[in-house]
Amino acid sequence: MAYEDMRQPIESGCPDGFQYMHPVMRKNFGLWKFHEHPKPGVLRHVAHSGDEIWTVKAGTQRILDVYSLRKLTEIGEKYGDGYVRFTIRSNIEYMVSDAAKVDPLITALTDAGFIVGGTGNSVAMISHTQGWLHCDIPGTDASGVVKAMMDELVDEFQNCNMPNRVHITTSCCQINCGGQGDIAINVQHTKPPRINHDLVANVCERPSVVARCPVAAIRPAMVNGKASLEVDEKKCICCGACFPPCPPMQINDPEHTKLAIWVGGNHSNARSKPTFQKLVASGIPNNPPRWPEATALVKRILKEYKEGAKDWERINDWIERIGWPRFFEVTGLPFTKYHIDNWRGARNSLNASTHIRF
């Protein structure tokens, strides 16, 4: 196509959400008084004006085919008011102003195979990444791990009877696009990259790759007469940071790419300041199609949390109160030398006191 025939983009940026917002929400914008959680999957918000908006929340498969999308919109038109939103964990929320619409909406969603829940103190839908379906550097799949795990956690999604909400995340590499969670299931590589020296010079911008390494383990080298890169395998922490800018440095391995579980990430400022997640288990096999070992460990941690935590304690609050030794004791997970941090700032994670629980 000739240049003059090309269409110039309209740089409109982020659209205004008001045009798609339920009229009751537009009317009462900034004027809400309180909310209630009448039952799992349902929220009732009441405005100072006395107006109400009811929300029905449902879990989806996140990677939606247009048939599933149309089913969701059809339900919204037939049983709702035609206004929806998606949460940051890819649940769909239907907003209706008439309480009488709530139960038919729940029935229609359930009949169509969607799972109503995810409100209050539930195990929320697992937020996840792209994985083998679409990412260029994944160590595992994302949608598949999450589907298999949510099949097992569906009761906790629907019942909302945990001590506080539980956010689970997954990530398919150590960049960790899945983010922080009360429980995170993330790829953990265990071997240095395998380098195809025939390709490095043509594919990789070598100084950038050298600069990308967090521990300065990569250096330029001539290998078999070709300009390439080499890795000091004693220094290498197997993070995979070199793989995106240099695909010939393959970090993923069918056997040695493992999964690790981290707990206690909490985004909220409620009670304590926000916290990052901490490593509790690693070496878990990356075992498609249903990753049973990872799911079993997540369920074990959830069981202990549910039994041991007080009302309103998130996982980090619970562990803060009972202490890490007790966490390893009740979950039966091994405490190893790999749990002791040696990255920058690690000293702050050491116990410099006699505060010890017996």
């Binding site: 659209p15 205004d16 929300t55 085919d65 247009v66 048939y67 969701l72 998606f86 994985g131 679409h134």
Partner: protein, 419 residues
């Protein structure tokens, strides 16, 4: 046209079992039931490649360079490394499209987007990716242009991909939440739409993310994940409806309220009186939100609302996870001038980042490398004790400018007192 190529998918078939909705069943509907053969072929091929990944435990997509006319980013290009075996999904690019602030949609608009996507893409879509974009997953290079041209005409624009200002995110906010202390959607659009050029034409050292939460519950994880985190808060007294407090105590009991509200306050700012009313030491309340979350009918944020701004949050690579740091403890966001001031701070920050960060270094990493004070001086913000957990512990610092700095502090305090 010949019958579409089919692939056995014994491993993926396992993901059709169980109660949670199955994405694999969705792919198969596109493969088997969709009237368009192009979509049948693409879904079949994608299933074949994904099964191959499951069998070999490896990914087979490579990046590349694809964008639409006039832009330099917004597309995640994917070319298959095993395209000969799975030819119909050889090119399988994703378009990142910016959602409306707050992620609201009408069903009509979702249907319209679905119609356009069926015409030009695979029929697979995600609301939303981890940065916050609508992800239209799977089309050819030509398809990206045609699809974008079509949806751009009715109000949708691409988001960021690569080293650029990324698509922003805000919580449900004032539209439906009693805790909201800010106009999250307005803030999001004021900020990100001021930088459309930096969204569409990646030229920064690395990515830069805006996220907006209406209260310190921070439902969009802004402090942990955003370079520029805007959090709604208030600075006057929280509102206490003592009648509702009494109702709550009556319903739950004093023990529950003491154990779950009073003693959970991080600064011991609450006291349950003998007459079942609640006393709040507002001066020492740190706006953590816990008591408001538990007793949301009785307790609400105050009226003097504004935002706290934190800069430098990010995930792992390269130097490890960093939270955002308080840069502005409180500012009002009411007048147009207030909003302009926030945008100005964002502009100063991004300009400083563009000039001073190393390649592939996030804002938080740059601050870690040069020190917070250098960054503050760079963007013209004065130091404030709210920025630290505690003052310096190390005596290894040269302090021969002490008197001038102390003068500045007293001058600033005098100016504030004068109003």
């Amino acid at each position: 046209m010949a019958a579409k190529k089919m692939y056995d998918t014994p491993m993926l078939d396992e993901l059709e079992k169980g109660p949670w909705p199955s994405f694999i069943s969705g792919f198969k509907r596109l493969r088997d039931d969709h009237p368009d053969e192009r979509i049948n072929e693409m879904a079949s091929s994608l299933l074949g490649q994904l099964e191959h990944s499951y069998e070999t435990r490896k990914g087979y997509w490579k990046g590349g360079t694809v964008s639409v006319f006039g832009y330099g980013g917004g597309i995640i290009p994917r070319f298959s490394e095993v395209g000969d075996a799975f030819p119909a999904s050889r090119e399988f690019h994703t378009l990142r499209v910016q959602p409306p602030a707050g992620n609201y949609y009408t069903t009509d608009m979702l249907n319209q987007l679905g119609d356009s996507w069926e015409k030009h893409g695979s029929g697979l879509v995600t609301f939303h990716g981890q940065t916050g974009n609508i992800m239209f997953i799977g089309t050819t290079t030509n398809g990206t242009q045609h699809f974008f041209d079509e949806i751009n005409e009715y109000g949708w624009d691409l988001g960021g991909a690569g080293p650029c200002v990324r698509t922003a995110m805000s919580c449900v906010g004032s539209a439906r939440c009693e805790q909201s202390c800010a106009n999250e959607h307005g803030i999001q659009r004021w900020l990100v739409n001021n930088f459309t050029d930096d969204v569409h034409r990646p030229a920064l050292p690395y990515k830069f993310k805006f996220k907006v939460s209406g209260c310190p519950n921070d439902c969009v994880n802004a402090i942990e994940r955003a370079d520029f985190a805007v959090i709604g808060t208030w600075r006057d007294d929280m509102k206490v409806d003592q009648e509702e407090v009494k109702n709550f105590v009556k319903a739950k009991g004093r023990e529950y309220v003491i154990d779950n509200v009073v003693t959970r306050c991080p600064t011991q700012a609450l006291s349950l009186k003998d007459d079942d009313t609640l006393e709040v030491d507002n001066h020492n309340c740190v706006r953590c939100m816990h008591c408001l979350n538990v007793m949301n009918k009785a307790l609400s944020p105050g009226d003097d609302r504004g935002i706290t701004l934190l800069i430098g949050g990010k995930r792992t690579l390269k130097i490890g996870d960093l939270m955002g740091t308080v840069i502005v403890p409180f500012m009002k966001l009411e007048s147009e001038e207030d909003y302009e001031r926030l945008v100005e701070i964002a502009e100063e920050t991004i300009d400083f980042f563009a000039e001073n960060a190393l390649e592939h270094e996030r804002t938080g990493e740059m601050i870690e490398r040069i020190g917070l004070v250098n960054f503050l001086e760079g963007i013209g913000i004065e130091v404030d004790p709210h920025m630290v957990n505690n003052p310096r512990q190390s005596s290894y610092v040269r302090t021969d400018g002490w008197d001038e700095e102390a003068e500045k502090w007293f001058a600033r305090k005098a100016e504030e007192a004068a109003g």
